[in-house]
Every structure is written in C-alpha cells, then in structure tokens.
C-alpha cells in the first residue's frame, strides 16, 4: 500500500515540532522578560511641563525634600507642591526666567501645574509615605538619588516582589529618622546593624500579608 507521507516527513516532523515548541517557549520567555517591571518601568522619565531640576534645587542648593513635599511625614501621600510654594522663592528669584512662565501664569490664575506622575502604583495598592518615612526608610531607598537628577526618572521596579524584599528584611534600608531626607548619607557602621537596632527600638514589623497593602 502506498504510504500517505514520504519517509522524510517523519524526520521533518521530529525536528520541526520540537523546534516550534522551543522557539515558541523562547519567544514567550523573552516577551515576559522584556515586560518585567525591572525592564519595562525602570528608567521611565517623562517630559514635565516645567523644566524643573531636582539636581539644582535639592542637590546644588541643598533644599530639603520636605520643603516642597511637605506632607510626606504626616500623610500617606507625598504632596506635589502648589505653585504658591514655587513662588515663595520665585517672586524674588529669577522673576523673568522664561522657564518659569507656566509657574507665574498658574500662580496668577490659581491653577496647578499639570505635572506628570513618575512613580505610579496600581490603584489597588495603598502605599503610605508617613509609615515609611517616620520609621527611617529614606527617600533614596525607593526614589534613588533624586538630588542628582535633572529630570526625575524611576530607578526601582516598584513591583510587588520588590516591596516584599524590603518588608521581609527591612534592616538594610533603615536609618535614624533625622537622616531620612539626607540622600547622600553613608552609615559609619554596617547599615544592617543600625537597622536592627532601629527595628528593636521602634518595634518595626512590616506586614507581609495581603491586607498590608491591598485593603
């Protein structure tokens, strides 16, 4: 009886099927890798309506983070400053700068500057700045050296696993609360050691159950 397929078809099938499976699997894995928060989200640096330089203000001029983000120790949300806050200085400093046109117009009309949010968490996550900052987690742990950034970009993946890494082992990221906004602070002893002392002293016990962040 004539065969349905040529003899070579058998070999072709044996090569082709595993090859397709292998290619499919590697394509899927590459796609997943590319879309990991550590690849997709880190480095996000949106254009802002006003060319505000954190490097100039927080770095060179040495302003404290809390001068503008003034609710960070008291509220869940770290406030983005109002135009009035900008104008506290800028009604005297660089009053004619073209870069500040939008700030002056906004101040005159009582309108906010439409900043683009850089660090975006999903709506189902409740992050509380106050809980972290008052226990000694520095701004730098999540936001990086903002005092060296002209344009702010995201440096940490902000993924759930990344949060949990610290919640499970907070010691390396804790410092005395007076140094929280001092982004270039370097510990004089091993950071873990300082962290463990702070944990014992304040009774820090970060939640790792679902309801800790998802209410």
């Amino acid at each position: 009886m004539a065969q349905t397929f040529k003899k070579s078809f058998d070999l072709q099938l044996r090569v082709f099927v595993p090859l397709v499976l292998l290619l499919g699997a590697s394509a899927a894995l590459s796609a997943i890798y590319l879309f990991l928060p550590s690849n997709k989200d880190v480095g996000y640096r949106p254009e802002q309506p006003v060319e505000y330089s954190h490097k100039l203000h927080a770095g060179n001029l040495g302003m404290d983070c809390r001068y503008c983000h003034n609710t960070v120790e008291k509220a869940a949300h770290a406030a983005v400053p109002t135009t009035e806050t900008c104008m506290n200085c800028h009604h005297r400093v660089k009053t004619n700068s073209a870069k500040l046109t939008l700030v002056r117009e906004g101040y005159a009309k009582g309108e906010a500057i439409p900043w683009t949010k850089v660090h975006v968490l999903p709506d189902y996550v409740y992050f509380n700045h106050q809980a972290h900052v008052t226990r000694g987690v520095s701004c730098v742990s999540c936001h990086g050296r903002v005092d060296q950034m002209i344009k702010v970009s995201q440096v940490a993946p902000l993924s759930m696993g990344w949060c949990l890494d610290c919640h499970r082992n907070p010691a390396p990221n804790l410092r005395p609360v007076e140094f929280v906004t001092k982004l270039d602070w370097t510990p004089d002893r091993p950071a873990e050691e300082i962290g463990r002392e702070i944990i014992a002293q304040k009774g820090i016990n970060p939640p790792i159950d679902c309801a800790g962040c998802h209410r």
Partner: protein, 466 residues
C-alpha cells in the same frame, strides 16, 4: 485484507443476558467490525446528526454568551452570595468531574482487571471523560471572576509579585488533581486511538487520508508497533488507575477539609468516588443507549454490555445509599448539635425537596436493576439512568448549598435561589458536552476496532460463537 471467516452464530436470544452470551452479537467477523465502526466516520453525516448538532451548538452558544456576560459584569450575576458562596457553579463542577469517572474506570481499572467487555464502550466513555472534564473546568475557573488572573492564583511560577500558591488549600490540590487527570485521560484516549485512526487512514483518500495519516503518527500495525503500543497502553492504564480514586477524593477534600457541618466528614473520599463512578455510568448508559440505536451498532454494544454497566451502577448506588445512611448515623451517634442540626435540616429544612429527590433518584430508582429482566429492558434502563443523572446533581447541591445556607451564624442564614444566568450556564455546559460528543462520534472511530476484534477472538476461544 481478506475477511477472516468466523463460524456463524446460531440464534442469539438478545434478551438472555447470561455470561455465555458473546460480547459481539450477530455473525461477527473482523471485517464486519471494521465496517460497522468506520462507516460511522466515513458516511456523509445524516440529517439527524445535523439537526442534533444545530440544537446542541445553539445551546453551547448560550453557555458562551452567559460566560461573556459573567466576565463583563462580575460573578454577582450568579445567585451565589454569603452564606451560600458555593452553589450551582461548584455543584456543576463536581457533577461533571464525577461523570468523567466512568471513562477512566472503564478504560483503566477494567483493563487491568482483564474485563474484555470494556472494549466496546471504552472509547466513547473516555471521550466523555475528556468532555466532562472540559465542562467541569469552566466552573471553578469562571468562579474566580477574572479567569485571566487565575493563572497566578492557581499555577506555581516565579513572578514579580513573589506570590506563591497556598499549598495547604485543597482547592489548590484540585488544580493539580484535575489537570493531571485531564492530561493522562487525553494521552490514554489518544494512544488507544492510534491503531483505529490508522485504519480510517488506510480506507480514506485525499485530504482525509492526510489528516488521519498525520494523527495516526505513522502507525503501520507491525509487531514492533503493537509491542510498544501495548506496553504504553498498560503503563497509562497503571497511571490512570490511582487517578480514578485520587481525583474525586481530592474534590471531596474541598469540603471534608473544612469545618462546616455536613462537609466535615471522613467518609467523603470513598463516598465521592463511588458517587462519581455511579453518575459516570449513568451518563455513559444514557448516551450509549441512544448512540447504539441511532448508529446501528447494537451488535457491538450489546445488551450484555448494558447489563454489566447496570450492575456497576447498582453496586455503586448501594455504596452511595450506605454512605447516606452512615452520614445520618454518625450525625446521630456523634451527638454534636451542629452536625445533628445540619442533617436534620437536610431532611426537613427549606430544601427538603432536594434531599428527598436525591435519595429517591440515587437509592430507590436504581433498585429495579436487581432484576435481570429490568436490566435487559432498554427503555426502563434509560429512564433509570436519567434518574441517576438528576439524583447525582441533587447530591452535590444538597451537600454544597444546604450545608452552607445554615452556617454557624444564624443571623446570616438565607435561602438560595439560582438566577437565570446560573440555569442557562448549566444548560449551556450540557450543550457544550453534547456538541463535543456529536463531533466525536462523527470524526473519530467511536469503538475500539482493534480491541473488539480481540474480544471476538476470545468469544471463539470460549466457544460462545458455536
């Protein structure tokens, strides 16, 4: 191939279902078996087939519409709500999984026990297993509300959320039990199909030859092939055998591991397995009684097969009845108020009608099967199998919903009413099941040709064909 002549059978009394009656009735020859089975696949589909397909696939579409509506709206469209958080969905899940059990039992356990009568019915029963598992899987997956998110609740894989499964939950054991069961059943079914797909290929021309040729994986029927085939089949039968027992045991853990009165019972695993085999044989009989008549294969699926299946059904019905009695006895003997209340509430509470329907359909209705004359009366057997199908659905409803609607907090006690979405989703899943079954009998040889030929040879050896 030359037709191998087998001495013609003298008159067979179809009503006389003694053990001496051959497994293949009429004047069987190897060629006749091939013809009878391949004809179903090769002939143009009948008008009846198209008509049935039109009906079942329309019903199947209802399922898809309902599932789409559920995903778009949320699972609030089902009637489930606290305290009855599991209702028709999990009832249907357990019902369908149970129906699948006949297939694995027939194909694996009866194979290992050398019960040759399985040969005529195992292919269809295994196919029903696969379709039933597919229908069953719909319910827990869609009960999650967002099935695409269920991946990280159900499957262990490294992810950026560092989420891991709750391996202490029997619901998680279910995922592995059911998916293993589905996979092994599919492999077992497909391996068993190979020689028969090759038979169809050899008789086909053109594109059909290509398609069946591809799926028969180059089967030539050489002694080598058969040697490997039989070994593989044996190994898969060995793998499937513990699964028959484990799957429904683990499904029963969904309930038994909890502390709810009516669920928290150590008898559940064997009770559920027996119930599953019972309902599985009920559904196999329901479908095969119609199929053998509609496709003119009454000489292959004989009254003897029906007789045997009825006996399995009767035996499992007795086990199920015994389990009901044990549950009530333990509730009384255990002297725990909550437990006693739960069982008293089953018999006399707001859902008394469900409990009594269950007892009637599962314990009383199969009793006539004790009589051989009933077992050979197709019409009566058919009616009994319908009772069994209904009764086993009620059993799961009774266990799940009645136990939940009177939970520990009297202030939350409630009555469960299904919504139209519940009802249509259930009916729709029957449509899906029947559509798949209709496709199966048209495109796949629905009887294991090679194995039935083996049964003929055995009949001759026993002198059943004189």
């Amino acid at each position: 191939m030359a037709d191998i002549a087998i001495k013609p059978n003298t008159q067979i009394d179809l009503l006389n279902t003694t053990i001496d009656q051959p497994l293949v009735a009429g004047e069987p020859s190897y060629h006749m078996v091939t013809e009878s089975v391949c004809r179903i696949v090769e002939d143009k589909p009948t008008k009846l087939w198209f008509a049935l397909l039109a009906v079942t696939s329309s019903v199947m579409m209802v399922l898809f519409v309902m599932l789409g509506y559920l995903v778009a709206t949320g699972i609030g469209v089902w009637g489930n709500n606290i305290p009855v958080a599991w209702a028709w969905d999990i009832t249907n899940f357990v019902w369908w999984i149970g129906i699948g059990h006949a297939g694995t039992l027939i194909s694996a356990i009866l194979f290992l026990l050398r019960q040759r009568w399985r040969t005529a019915i195992n292919r269809a029963a295994e196919a029903m297993t696969l379709f039933a598992v597919a229908c069953a899987a719909i319910y827990p997956v869609f009960h999650t509300g967002r099935p695409w998110r269920a991946v990280y609740w159900l499957l262990p894989y490294p992810n950026t959320m560092q989420m891991w499964l709750n391996f202490r939950s029997p619901l998680e054991w279910d995922v592995f039990a059911v998916s293993t069961y589905g996979t092994v059943s599919l492999l077992f079914w497909y391996v068993g199909l190979l020689p028969d797909l090759a038979t169809i290929r050899d008789r086909a021309t053109g594109l059909r030859k290509q398609i069946y040729g591809f799926f028969s994986l180059g089967w030539r029927g050489s002694a080598h092939h058969w040697k490997h085939y039989e070994l593989a089949y044996m190994v898969l039968a060995g793998l499937s055998t513990p699964l028959v027992l484990s799957v429904h045991s683990i499904v029963s853990f969904d309930f038994a591991v909890s502390i709810l009165p009516g669920w928290h019972t150590t008898i559940f695993p064997p009770y559920f397995v027996a119930g599953a085999v019972f309902s599985g044989f009920g559904m196999v009989l329901t479908l095969l009684i119609i199929t053998r008549k509609a496709l003119n294969i009454e000489h292959l699926i004989t009254l003897k097969h029906i007789d045997y299946m009825c006996k399995v059904m009767l035996a499992t019905s007795m086990i199920v009845g015994y389990s009901y009695a044990t549950e009530y006895f333990i509730a009384w003997y255990g002297a725990v108020n909550g437990e006693q209340f739960a069982f008293f509430n089953r018999l006399t509470g707001p859902f008394w009608w469900a409990t009594w329907s269950m007892i009637f359909c599962n314990v009383v209705a199969p009793l006539p099967l004790w009589w051989a004359s009933v077992r050979s009366n197709i019409a009566v057997v058919f009616v009994i199998t319908i009772f069994v199908n209904i009764g086993m659905w009620f059993e799961r409803f009774v266990i799940i919903s009645i136990s939940l609607h009177r939970d520990f907090l009297p202030s939350s006690w409630d009555y469960f009413r299904p919504t139209y979405v519940d009802v249509l989703t259930y009916i729709g899943s029957i449509g899906l099941f029947l559509t798949l079954y209709l496709m199966f009998i048209k495109f796949v040889p629905m009887i294991a040709i090679a194995e039935v030929k083996g049964a003929i040879a055995q009949d001759i050896e026993k002198g059943a064909h004189h």
